[in-house]
């Protein structure tokens, strides 16, 4: 193992706008003939042939800038010494990168840089990873003649406000790489060069500290910095890494590839990997910096058991803990029947681990009571897209957006929840793509530096279907349907029924305005733009799915894409942005109670036979319980035992009282997690899990991309999560045998047609694979439905708007909608145990100033939020980001437990909860509610642990 150093070509490869191959140009560099695409810089062409031109302000993640005057070259027949980064190649030119004249200029330039740079290389954190140091060496600088007596920048104060990196202006060479990275790569425009000439300095915002500025801490500037000016605190603390391993981030569904840079078994830093298919060298604050939870002191490293949920935990051996799980589960089954236990697979764990948990439930428990976190997020996506297109996944790869002309974002907030994809999206928008945002809140995409939505449809929560039907109404009644596409690719009969349906007056924008509050003219304008603006792509999130009509809305979007011919090529499509890192994968792996891997229904005898033969058991042909049904069944006594891997249902699932009542009614709840999470407050066995750094496996991101997760350190508690599941199976008398997770994937590939061509070896060779990958598509499938839908002809579905029964009234006059924030992830179990808390230490209620004034609420006040399900209290923020009548909060903190408010209403088809619409009342409060205090007490009690050492002494 060694440190992976990607080649820096200095400038990006030229891109063809028209998608036709670029003309090739041949030139001579230092006597070598070099052939490169037209538009390539001389610097890049040189690097292509292995000649490194000295450089400081250039790096290939950024457009060339030409400020450092180090990369100069000579071209025969031309005057002067042009910068090789900003000079494109030309046919036949003869370039020299090393001449006496160039050497002398470069040495002079470096001498000037060094004359105002501290010479503390030996104790500098960048020692060994400093481009200034490298270049001083490269040009042979031996002497600085100017002395340090004059005015200089050597004693400037450091800015250490950011939790993860420092800014040391004394080491800055003002190359602008950080400023350009913030603009070009991240798209936040938080940094600038302040002042002129000698006074020029990098500045976050208007001379603010980094932490107080608009900086989103994505790390792009730190990565771009050639010196120790912007430096990871972890490197300052630990030192330079000595080897690295490419792996996949365990945060959101973007699935970024990172180099885990290590010193021995200690992680020094995570650096985004340039060849990562999803992120191509970019990152966000979570993946780049928020990994400290892996070694947090609250991490549990020993298995624990307890008799009652009011008892303290008792540390035990792995054998005792696993033995308890097996004996309890078997006892419950003997007493209450085979279907009285079940399991929940994790969308945070690997594909192999999710597959094993569902296998444990089906083959060892002998029932189909298995479900996964996707139940409460994207289950409507699976159902809706499979009915219309024939497959349960998004249609595009992320890169596809580079060819999109009109982007429609519905119920998603990518700058917070999928930041690396949002940066790509913003890059495209800055190049001129048009934008429609359908969201109750004015998200950052609606208006932020250099981004402005053409149309924002600020609909009332719960009225998605009305709006999508109204958009379709305009397209159909104004003759904007792509009839050729529909006739050729779709089921014409279902189209006609649908067209007739959406054309009805009750689906007009004018009718929708009365329901959704979106002006009819805005709907009309958005529909016209989407249908006529070129390649149209829909990106959506949980603002679509987490409704009583989540599935209907997914179908509505699929209808719209088909009617406008926006499916089956680059730049178009219907694309769910997935919440957790492996939501797509856990669904693919057969985590739903009704289907086996590859979305095949359990009632299908042929599929079942395939698995029965492979597993040597007979399978139940009936679908099992979905997560919300499990709690109902627990209350009526028919469901008594649950194995939860890597999921905190108490905090993340709706109607907390319902969840905790269900769990309290169970006799054996087994939680496998990194920390004592909220669910473990109701558990009897705790099995400590491994982090993504401690095991091998794969994650599948929102673009169906299967990425390798590589073990970079041994598991701190001794086992990978997959090994724990195997132990349970063995203890329950049905052993399964795998020596390595790759063997689990081999089994998945054998049994799943869309995965036939997938193996760890193949993923390693290709970098990543987008399923389907099989005989028909050996290289995988970046774009789905090219030339034909998976189901044959695309089917239009009638999507009647049925208002939710969760309605505002005199008691609950406001609508609560919930969401996420950049610095926190899901239930916050990981991010709350990192420096990220500095940005979001608590959940906050956003309320419109008008609604606040009516209730006598001021900025920062404690407020009580009450729904028919429950009440909690938190601090208020007054903002017009939300419309009057709508309030918003996040669910990252267990002290608030936003889900004590949300109700048990759910999607008609999938039971996906209606998190996004809850009728509430807000009133001033003087602190936490009684329930919050009681919950806190129970939670504190549940975190008492009697260590093994104490037990031995007793």
């Amino acid at each position: 193992m060694s440190l992976i150093k990607e080649i820096d070509y200095g400038t990006p490869a030229p891109k063809s706008e028209a998608q036709v191959p670029l003309k090739q140009v041949t030139l001579t560099i230092d006597g070598y003939a070099v052939t490169v695409p037209e538009g390539t810089s001389i610097m890049r062409a040189a690097m292509d042939t292995g000649i490194q031109v000295p450089k400081l302000c250039a790096t290939d993640s950024l457009e060339s800038f030409g400020s450092c005057r180090v990369c100069l070259v000579e071209i025969e027949g031309r005057n002067g010494t042009p910068a090789s980064c900003t000079t494109p190649v030309a046919p036949g030119i003869v370039v020299h990168t090393q001449t006496e004249r160039l050497k002398s200029i470069r040495r002079g330039v470096l001498e000037l840089y060094i004359s105002d740079h501290p010479l503390d290389c030996l104790t500098c954190a960048a020692n060994g990873d400093c481009e200034l140091q490298d270049m001083a060496g490269a040009v042979g600088l031996r002497d600085v003649r100017y002395g340090y007596q004059g005015e200089n920048h050597l004693n400037q104060a450091k800015d250490e406000s950011n939790p993860y990196f420092t800014y040391d202006p004394s080491k800055c060479i003002v190359c602008s790489r950080c400023v350009r990275a913030c603009e070009e790569v991240q798209g936040t425009f938080a940094l600038t060069i302040e002042g002129r000439g000698f006074g020029s300095a990098v500045s976050a915002g208007m001379g603010e500290a980094f932490l107080d500025s608009e900086c989103v801490s994505c790390g792009a500037c730190v990565q771009a910095c050639p010196t120790a000016t912007l430096m990871e605190k972890s490197v300052i603390e630990i030192g330079q890494p000595e080897h690295s391993v490419v792996t996949t981030c365990a945060y959101c569904g973007v699935g970024c590839s990172f180099k885990a840079e290590m010193r021995g078994n200690e992680l020094v830093r995570m650096v985004p990997y340039k060849d990562g298919g999803a992120n191509e060298g970019h990152s966000c604050v979570k993946g780049r910096f928020a990994w400290g939870y892996a070694t947090h002191k609250e991490r549990i490293l020993k298995p624990m058991i307890r008799e009652k949920i009011s008892d303290p935990w008792r540390e035990v051996s792995w054998d005792e803990a696993i033995g308890r799980v097996a004996s309890e589960f078997r006892r419950i089954q003997t007493t209450y029947g085979q279907s009285s236990i079940g399991g929940i697979t994790s969308s945070r764990c690997t594909n192999e681990e999710a597959y094993l948990v569902q296998k444990l439930v089906r083959a060892v428990f002998g029932n189909n009571n298995v479900d996964t976190c996707a139940r409460v997020c994207h289950s409507p996506t699976g159902f809706g897209l499979s009915k219309t297109f024939g497959t349960s996944a998004g249609t595009q790869d992320f890169k596809s957006i580079d060819q999109t002309d009109v982007i429609m974002v519905i119920g998603a907030n990518p700058t917070d929840a999928h930041p690396v994809f949002a940066s790509r999206m913003k890059k495209r928008l800055r190049k001129g793509a048009r934008l429609i945002v359908v969201d109750p809140r004015r998200t950052d995409l609606v208006k932020s530096p250099h981004i402005k939505a053409d149309h924002h449809l600020p609909l009332l929560p719960g009225t998605n279907v009305s709006v999508i039907n109204a958009l379709a109404h305009v397209i159909v009644t104004e003759g904007l349907v792509d009839e050729n596409f529909v006739r050729e690719r779709c089921d014409w009969e279902t189209f006609q029924d649908w067209a007739q349906f959406v054309a009805q007056p009750e689906n007009s924008p004018e009718a929708s305005e009365a329901v959704s509050g979106v002006p009819a003219e805005t709907i009309r304008a958005a529909a016209r733009l989407f249908a006529t603006g070129g390649n149209g792509a829909i990106y959506y999130g949980l603002g679509v799915t987490e409704h009583s009509q989540g599935t209907t809305m997914v179908m509505g979007m699929a209808n719209l894409a088909m009617a406008t011919g926006n499916i089956g090529r680059r730049g178009v499509g219907v694309n769910p942005l997935r919440g957790q890192n492996n939501v797509q994968g856990s669904c693919d792996m057969g985590s739903f109670p009704h289907e086996l891997s590859g979305y095949r229904h359990i009632s299908d005898a042929t599929t079942r036979a395939l698995f029965e033969t492979a597993w040597g058991v007979s399978l139940d042909k009936e679908p099992g319980l979905r997560i919300p049904n499990m709690f109902d069944a627990a209350m009526d006594g028919s469901f008594r035992g649950l194995y939860v891997q890597g999921e905190d249902i108490v905090q993340s699932d709706p109607d907390t009282h319902h969840v905790t009542s269900g769990l309290s009614a169970m006799e054996c709840v087994v939680v496998q997690d990194l920390f004592l999470n909220e669910t473990s407050n109701y558990a009897h066995v705790f099995l400590p899990g491994a982090t993504f750094l401690e095991k091998d496996g794969t994650f599948t991101n929102a673009e169906r991309r299967i990425n390798l997760v590589r073990k970079v350190m041994p598991p701190k508690q001794g086992k990978g999560d997959w090994e724990i599941t195997l132990d349970i199976a063995k203890a329950m008398g049905v052993p399964m045998h795998y020596d390595h997770p790759s063997e689990i994937m081999d089994e998945i590939a054998r049994l799943t047609p869309t995965f036939h061509g997938v193996s760890f070896k193949r993923i390693d060779e290709m970098g990543s694979i987008q399923w389907p990958c099989n005989e028909k598509a050996p290289e995988g499938t970046p774009i789905m439905h090219v030339g034909g839908f998976v189901r044959g002809k695309g089917a239009f579905m009638i999507t009647e708007y049925v208002p939710t029964d969760e309605k505002v009234g005199p008691r609950f006059p406001l609508l609560l909608t919930t969401g996420r924030i950049l610095s926190q992830y899901n239930v916050g179990a990981q991010t709350r145990r990192t420096g990220n808390v500095v940005w979001h230490p608590e959940d906050i209620l956003e309320i419109h100033p008008h609604d606040a004034e009516q209730r006598g609420i001021r900025e920062g006040d404690w407020v009580r939020i009450q729904s028919r399900a429950g009440a909690t209290a938190l601090h208020a923020r007054l903002t017009d980001r939300v419309a009057p009548g709508v309030v918003y909060t996040t669910f990252h903190h267990p002290d608030t437990q936003a889900n004590v408010i949300t109700t048990d209403y759910s999607d008609w088809a999938t039971n996906c909860p209606e998190y996004k619409v809850t009728a509430v009342q807000i009133s001033p409060s003087n602190g936490p509610t009684e329930w919050q205090n009681e919950y806190r007490e129970h939670s504190d009690q549940s975190r008492r642990i009697i260590p093994l050492s104490v037990q031995a002494a007793e």
Partner: protein, 72 residues
């Protein structure tokens, strides 16, 4: 399992298919319940039907009846 909740869920499915002719709608609702409801949920709603089926929309009631054969 609380019959109220199951009745509500079944009616919700019925509403999605409400635009279809009765026979097709009944089949579609029954198919959905068969494919996605655990047997104990089907048993519970059938018991509710046997007790009069209060609250079930007429077509949904027919669909639930059609599910009976799937429950042993």
């Amino acid at each position: 399992m609380s019959p109220d909740k199951l009745v509500y869920m079944a009616n919700q499915i019925g509403k999605f298919f409400a635009h279809q002719p009765e026979e097709k709608a009944v089949d579609a609702v029954a198919d959905h319940i068969r494919k996605f409801w655990d047997p104990r949920m089907r048993k519970a709603i059938l018991a509710h039907v046997d007790a009069g089926g209060a609250g079930l929309d007429p077509r949904t009631l027919k669909a639930v009846e059609a599910v009976r054969a799937s429950v042993a």
